[in-house]
């Protein structure tokens, strides 16, 4: 049964909204620290406490709900980007040096920014939505490709070696118990499995550059979702903000293909 474009588009919008919500939730640790002690100069006096966080979260949730419902989309998208930027900066100002960089917000924020820019400057109304989705997909391609390039630039292809991946999984096995520990420990002790995981990660992230091409998006969306689920299960790294953003844009792109 073929799904109607409008349903696909709505599902895509909801998935992207989930990604944005999870990006916002990644700021949860902001509440562990009072204020912004590492902000420069007079900015260090800015308040940051549960009250401020609650108000900001209410505004974010309300704005996100409006955007997901396609109400005043351009305004709400811009406000969401501003809120994510502010939250990212507050979190950075709570850490010494650059240790507080939060990658969770980057891809959802970049995709929404590109979406907004394309809708504002993308020409006639009849094609703006298509172009907005494509521009956002370009950001997805860029985000994953840069992540893969950083790994190769930092470690060469040795990043994907069985020993390296096995160590990462072993470290995550050490901090959990029960069946999850058993699963991760078994994975860490299999050089073939770890080698395949490492290669698959680089291939999927590097290959995501093909997300610029609409026919490749369904396959890459499935691969990227699977990669994130695997990383969450084996390595305890939960980047569902990125995963839902990619899933949502994959659905939105499919909707545009069918219109």
């Amino acid at each position: 049964m073929r799904v109607a474009p409008d349903r696909l588009a709505r599902a895509g919008r909801v998935a992207v909204a989930l990604g944005l919500a999870m990006a916002w939730l990644s700021f949860g640790r902001v509440l562990d620290v009072d204020g912004v002690p590492f902000a420069p100069g007079p900015l260090a006096a800015l308040p940051m406490n549960p009250l401020v966080a609650s108000v900001a979260s209410f505004v974010f949730a309300s704005t996100l709900s409006a955007w997901a419902s396609q109400r005043r989309e351009d305004l709400t998208a811009a406000l969401l980007v501003v809120l994510l930027a502010a939250g990212t900066q507050v979190q950075a100002w709570q850490w010494p040096g650059d240790e507080g960089a939060n990658g969770a917000t980057m891809l959802p924020g970049a995709a929404l920014t590109a979406w907004w820019v394309a809708r504002r400057f993308g020409g006639p109304a009849a094609v703006r939505d298509r172009r907005a989705v494509d521009a956002a997909c370009g950001m997805v391609a860029g985000g994953y490709f840069v992540a893969a390039a950083s790994k190769v630039a930092g470690s060469g292809l040795a990043w994907a070696s069985a020993g390296n991946i096995g160590l990462q999984i072993a470290a995550q096995a050490a901090i959990v118990g029960g069946p999850l520990h058993t699963l991760r420990a078994a994975a860490a002790e299999s050089p073939v499995f770890c080698g395949l995981l490492g290669v698959a990660t680089l291939v999927i992230e590097g290959g995501a550059v093909a997300y610029v091409w609409p026919p490749a998006r369904p396959w890459l969306t499935v691969a990227i979702v699977g990669m994130h689920l695997g990383i969450g299960l084996l390595m305890g790294l939960h980047h569902y903000d990125w995963m839902f953003t990619t899933l949502g844009l994959g659905l939105a792109s499919a909707a545009e293909d069918r219109r």
Binding site: D32, G103, T105, R131, D134, V146, G163, A174
Partner: protein, 138 residues
């Protein structure tokens, strides 16, 4: 063709800006997992009470522990943000004296190695002192 052009514009914009600016929302080089080559061992921070792994946030009023000793530098640890968080928690919850309910707390690193398909580990202590279990507000 036009959909590909708009997507390519997004791709090149992301690559150019992230490589030029580094970590500047919403762009990043995502270098946190990049420098992991050449390791044959991994280190995970460990907080123990009575030899049992304990969440650091379940303890406060640390006595006799130097937060500066909680440091991943020189160790093959890819979870630096966890180390910084624990160090900050301890630094913000120090006490001068231990109370009657204090327990002995040990901080260190579990060094993990995969040797011939077998996972082995050794513990490296970096600090030992006393702390108090946190009580939930009524």
């Amino acid at each position: 063709m036009t959909p590909v052009l708009w997507a390519l514009a997004g791709l090149f914009a992301y690559m150019a800006i992230s490589l030029r600016l580094g970590d500047a929302f919403p762009f990043s080089k995502y270098s946190m997992y990049a420098g992991l080559k050449g390791r044959d061992e991994g280190a995970v921070l460990s907080v123990r009470v009575g030899g049992v792994e304990t969440p650091v946030a379940s303890l406060d009023r640390f006595v006799g522990i130097d937060p500066a000793a909680i440091d991943a530098a020189g160790r093959p640890c890819s979870q630096q943000w966890v180390v910084v968080e624990v160090r900050r928690w301890v630094a913000e919850h120090l006490a001068a004296e231990a109370g009657p309910d204090a327990v002995e707390v040990e901080l260190g690193f579990r060094h993990l190695r995969v040797d011939g398909h077998v996972l082995t580990e050794r513990f490296e202590r970096v600090a030992i002192g006393r702390a108090h279990p946190r009580r939930r507000a009524p």
